[in-house]
Structures are given as C-alpha cells and as structure tokens.
C-alpha cells in the first residue's frame, strides 16, 4: 500500500457515506427505524467539518478523533458502533503503521464493535462484513479483493433473519433485505481501499 494522505482517506470514507445516505435510509426503512443514512450523514458531516483541525494529527489521534465525533454526533446505535471501530483502530495503531499493524488493529477494532453491540457474526449486522474483511486483510488480500469480500458479505445478509438490532423485531420479515449497517460498512471499506490502493 502507498502512504495515503490522511485527508484523502477521511474525505473518501465520509463522502461515500454522505452520498449514499438516501440508499442507507431506504434500507433501514425496510427493516428498521429508517434513520441509518441520516444519522451517519450527520456524523460524517461533522467529521468533514473537523478536518481542518484533525488532518495534521497522527493516525492514532486522527482515528480516535473521528471515532469520538461519530459517537457524539450520530444519535443512533450506529454512532457508538462505527465510532468504536474508529476508536479501536486509533488505540491500537502506532504512529507510523505497517500493514501488519493494520491487521492487528483491525482485529482489535472488530472485537470492540462486537462487545459494544453484544453481537457476533451471522446476526445480520455490520459485523457480518467486518469479520470476513478482517480475515481477508489478515490473509493478505489487496484492495480489490477486500472490496469484493465486503460487497459479497453485505449481499450475504439479505437472506438472513436478523437476531440483533431493530430488525430482529421483525423476525422472519427481516429476511430478503440487506442490512443497512452491513451496506454502510461495505461502502466505507471500499472507499478506504480506493485511497489506500488506487485503482483497486
């Protein structure tokens, strides 16, 4: 991977979420409370607004600042969940991270999200994307492969019956819809991969 501009990476992730806010809200209207896109958009707009102060921070401090902004601004469960992922990366990464550092930090961040959401793989949540992406990262997958893994993992939530989160209230009626958290997570991973490995 090349050494990316921190600002380019943050902008790429934030802008893809903001651009897909309506789609994410639509997915959430089908099986949840219909605020996923709106909430994440509010959070990532705040992240973009804070870039002038945060872009010169070290990777750990930048990621922790993003995590805290999402925790404070999103206003739904996705704030602490996505925020915990960024906070976990920030806490685990050294100032000048290698790919090995990223693999270890990502594992820790995924564990943090599981603990925060009291959830495991297979419950039709963002964890269903994070777990296979983390496994792919650990086994050496490149940007294009990680994007494919993330997309397929989000798609694989469609036939699942939700057992965690608001969608679990619907029982069998949650089957046949993509989980909005899985979709937003896949979008963020693809956006990050595009910057970390241009042309992937």
């Amino acid at each position: 991977m090349t050494a990316p501009s921190k600002e380019a990476l943050v902008r790429s992730v934030a802008e893809v979420v903001i651009a897909h806010a309506d789609e994410l809200t639509g997915l959430d209207q089908a099986i949840g409370d219909g605020d996923h896109g709106i909430n994440l958009k509010r959070g990532f707009e705040a992240v973009l607004a804070s870039l002038p102060e945060s872009r010169d921070k070290s990777w750990p401090d930048l990621l922790k600042a993003i995590g805290m902004t999402l925790v404070m601004k999103v206003g739904g469960a996705s704030g602490p969940l996505v925020g915990t992922f960024f906070l976990g990366l920030g806490k685990a990464l050294p100032e000048v991270p290698t790919r090995q550092d990223l693999v270890a930090a990502c594992a820790r961040a995924v564990d943090g999200v599981k603990a925060r959401g009291k959830s495991e793989f297979g419950q039709k949540t963002m964890i269903d994307v994070l777990v296979p992406v983390q496994a792919g990262l650990a086994s050496g997958a490149g940007g294009a492969a990680l994007k494919r893994i993330a997309d397929e993992a989000a798609e694989a939530t469609v036939p699942l019956r939700a057992t965690r989160g608001r969608a679990s209230f619907l029982g069998d009626r949650s089957i046949g819809h993509m989980d909005p958290g899985a979709r937003s997570t896949a979008l963020m991973i693809a956006a990050a991969a595009d910057v970390l490995e241009p042309g992937s």
Binding site: D33, V71, M72, G75, A77, G79, G117, G165
Partner: protein, 135 residues
C-alpha cells in the same frame, strides 16, 4: 435535610428514550410517585432534536443526578442502550462502576426503581427490582 438526602444518600435515576416526550413524560410519572425524594433526569432525542439518543445529553443527565450511592439508567430501544453504555464509559473512572444501565421496561422500570430508591435502597437493589419486571 431533604436536600442532603437527595444529593448524598439516594440512588439517582436517568431516563433515556429516543423520544424527548417519552423521556420527559416518564420522569413526570416517576415524580408523581416519589416527589423530590429521588434525583431524576432525562435525555431524549438525537443531537438535532429528532428521534434518537445523544451521548452528550446522557452524560449530562447522569452528572446532574450524580450520587455517591450510584445512578440507575432506564433505556428504551437498542440505540438508547448502546448510547447509554457509551456515556457510562465516558464518565470518570471512579464514577463508571456506580452507574448501571437496567435491562427493564422504561416506564414501569423507572417508576419501580425510583420507588425503591426513595426508600434508601442500594444501587444493586434498585436495579434488581427494576430488572425483575423482565424476569
């Protein structure tokens, strides 16, 4: 003495709902039951005032009713629980272990928890009494 009791000797109570109206209305119902004998605060609505929950508001509510005897937090749906747990983790370390997010129905849980707290019960007893509603 009443003030001393409220601040220093009684478990405080925080109600967290996606809806400010539900949170405030729940506290109204609790207040009718326990008067001023229990410190009460609520947090409802997302940072823009829509339906949702706001970690900063929850932290402020916990601080507002803080008692060395502890604080019980009643929540409604998933995001309220997740955000309340996040808020607890953002408190100073010495306060964190004295705040419990209850696994209980929000309105009934708040009323019974506050009634228990008004009798001077410990945090553990207040939480257990509320959680028995789901047992």
């Amino acid at each position: 003495m009443q003030l001393l009791r409220e601040q220093d000797m009684t478990v405080g109570l925080v109600v967290v709902s996606h809806s400010a109206k539900v949170a405030e209305g729940t506290v109204d119902m609790v207040r009718q039951m326990v008067g001023d004998s229990v410190a009460l605060a609520w947090a409802g609505g997302d940072p823009d005032g829509g339906l949702g929950t706001d970690v900063a508001k929850i932290v402020a509510a916990i601080e507002a009713v803080w008692s060395a005897d502890g604080v019980a937090v009643l929540v409604d749906l998933g995001g309220a629980e997740t955000n309340a747990e996040m808020a607890v983790e953002m408190l100073p370390e010495d306060k964190r272990e004295r705040v419990t997010v209850c696994n209980a129905p929000i309105v009934e849980g708040a009323v019974i928890a506050a009634t228990e707290a008004s009798g001077g019960s410990t945090l553990d007893t207040v939480v257990r009494t509320a959680e028995e509603l789901y047992a």
